[in-house]
Symmetry: none
Subunit: 419 residues, 2 copies
């Protein structure tokens, strides 16, 4: 069951508004076994709208339009949809009464004449009532195609999708309908290609499950998608395959779907009864902020030191001046001293440290921009790693934070478990 | 000058990724006088991609594609674009060398074979080098149309758009073309309605300049937009109006366009010869990370203490146990003690502190979730403020960070200057 969306509005094509309606609809459609096959974004232009709507009408059985239902001159969806189906526009008495009632409720004596056009609908259209705003949705049928005409305001669009569109599509699709289900395995600290090679054998036999690698700054998500089976069966197959993927990508995989790397680290710390402290130079709080994004992190996170200036590394972390002078702030030796210092200063079982050169200035031939040392120290000992990160200041900092989290996970994760 | 975008990727049609590339491109295109006339989103499906690309090719002179350039099986843009122009694929020696070099730099001995296809380009394509990732962009011409083929990762897409697409389109468009220009005045610490009242009079006479208020978590941007004039003239009119807006919104406005609140604070600190230290409980690094997003911040930022646990507030900031027991960690008294403590511990002229309850747990009738104390202390004295923030954990933390920055700005900004 293919569905297309035509999103209408100059604000979308000027970049003033991001179309979040289509991704929302996409997720909800997949869950009832429908597939979003194309999204077309056009402006408030009669000819361009008509062309896009006619093309969609001729390609698929089901079309959702969003936007262009307001009371102003640039709101053209109603008349253009009427044209596309060769239907006249007529005043719908029910809608007119609702719109007038809405104005009275907000304390206006009379409704502006411009709002009257909101009650005009293509002949024969069914109305999807809108309890969140003044523009109702419409269902218009003809020429082997059904249009669901929805407003563009996200809260209204979502409500009408749930109440007036998904039930119709689900009924048309039937209960045992094949659906599209996805499951994501999250990894950190391994590259896309290395990951793909590690998984090649098992995923070569995974069909009809589709596999996609989604890299984002030092992390790679492996998305497994299965279309064409009823929901229960699809979920069972996906989670079987996910188990294999998790096992093969140990120690880089840290969970599936909603799991986050900081939460996985927190669970591992709680399992061991250890508490964490951080010492951040270059990232100056990014690591601490990521870790405490987890609700309840106070159970296993103590705090840390933002040792941006060398004086702070000395005063609060006890990094010896001699170490800073001989090896520099960005060095294995300083990283190790920060680790020992932050564990001591905060009485923490586990320390994590980052020091590096984010740029754009501060690099040298010997230590270029992007050079980073990260480290983790537990009661079992310290481990430090050197990174040479690509990208600009933000990217260098972000990659360092992710690499530190990935190292924490590898050091703390329960032994012998695949995740 | 009409431009279309074809955004490619199953993740877009499954709703897992929101297409932020197109809105970004839309804004940048408008600024050089080009118009985004349609966006089409299709999945990683050879036939559907081909159809969408051929339709775009036949409608407009300029097409930008995003996505589908990675090394894996589902990355089909290069071969499909070649088909659309009837061109064979050939290995580009320059790209191949770059990709191999990239792998060496990251410490891999050999490049996985799958990455070799990233060097395949339609015959005659020009390469847009990609310094942010392994997939370069391409310019492919034929049949009266030019395709700019860009990667889907936003950082890479934006860089290649700036370096390889906009210069070509601007040159084709000519210098005197009417453009859409915008200028943004940034404010923090004042609400949208209060701001609108303050600006009402001057903006009532501002036509044909359009005014939009863009609120986002404690900050409000005032966007001034002027369409239909050549670039120079538009910019002159906009900056005249911006001067008035800046003057009327003192002390909340901190700059225009690319200015950021942390950078404005840094410039103010440098003007006074003072250095800053932060003490963060609830936000645990968000403030420090924001401040050091500014290149060169080491000139005026020393570091700080993430005092998440009360033990750390005592041990590193010298907050008296008695204060914590009598007033609690989220209190004016603790906030003041954190300010004094962080200035002392880091020998800083200026301290900034945040303590609060981000939730979801930890609230009480007396101190609900969202209760936050922020403070700033300079050699001229301390100032603390109580906030009761709406929203979830992320929003409470984010609003606290912005409020702390806004208070820093109001306390530090040069006297008598409008910004």
């Amino acid at each position: 069951m293919d569905v297309e969306i035509v999103a209408i509005g100059n604000e979308l094509l000027l970049g003033e508004t991001v179309d979040t309606n289509s991704p929302y609809a996409a997720r909800r459609l997949a869950e009832i076994g429908a597939r979003l096959s194309r999204v077309t974004v056009v402006g408030d232009d009669r000819a361009r709208m008509r062309r896009a709507l006619e093309e969609a009408r001729d390609r698929v059985r089901w079309v959702i339009t969003t936007g262009g239902l307001g009371p102003t001159r640039d709101d053209l969806t109603r008349p253009v949809v009427a044209e596309v189906f060769g239907l006249p526009l007529e005043i719908d008495a029910g809608i007119l009464a609702d719109v007038e009632e809405r104005f009275r409720r907000f304390g206006y004596e009379t409704m502006p004449a411009s709002n009257r056009c909101q009650a005009e609908v293509p002949r024969g259209a069914r109305v999807i009532p809108n309890t969140h705003g003044s523009a109702p949705g419409l269902i218009v049928e003809g020429r082997g195609c059904t249009f669901f005409v929805l407003p563009g305001v996200p809260a209204e669009m979502r409500a009408l999708l749930e109440e007036g569109v998904l039930p119709v599509l689900a009924a048309a699709n039937g209960e045992k309908a094949p659906v599209v289900r996805s499951l994501v395995v999250h990894t950190a600290g391994i590259g896309e290609s290395a990951l793909a090679e590690q998984l090649d054998e098992v995923l070569a036999h995974a069909e009809p499950i589709e596999v996609a690698y989604l890299p984002h700054l030092g992390m790679v998500d492996v998305r497994l998608t299965l279309a064409g089976l009823p929901r229960d069966e699809a979920d069972r197959k996906l989670s079987d395959l996910a188990e294999k993927v998790l096992r093969l990508t140990t120690p880089y995989a840290y969970g599936t779907d909603d799991q986050t790397l900081p939460r996985a680290i927190g669970e591992a710390l709680q399992g061991r009864g250890w508490r964490l402290a951080v010492a951040e130079s270059m990232t100056s709080g990014e690591l601490g902020a990521e870790i405490t994004s987890v609700p309840g992190s106070s159970a296993w996170f103590l705090g840390g030191v933002l040792a941006y200036a060398n004086e702070v590394k000395e005063a609060l972390l006890g990094v010896p001046r001699d170490t800073l002078e001989r090896h520099g702030a960005v060095s294995e030796e300083t990283c190790r001293a920060m680790l020992a210092g932050v564990r001591r200063a905060l009485s923490a079982e586990v320390g994590c440290a980052i020091t590096g050169i984010a740029g754009p200035a501060g690099g040298s031939a010997e230590k270029p921009v992007g050079r980073v040392w990260i480290g983790v120290e537990t009661p079992d000992g310290a481990q430090v790693r050197k990174l040479d990160s690509p990208g600009d200041r933000d990217e260098v900092r972000r990659r360092a934070t992710v690499a530190a989290l990935a190292l924490l996970w590898r050091r703390l994760r329960p032994e012998g478990e695949p995740r």
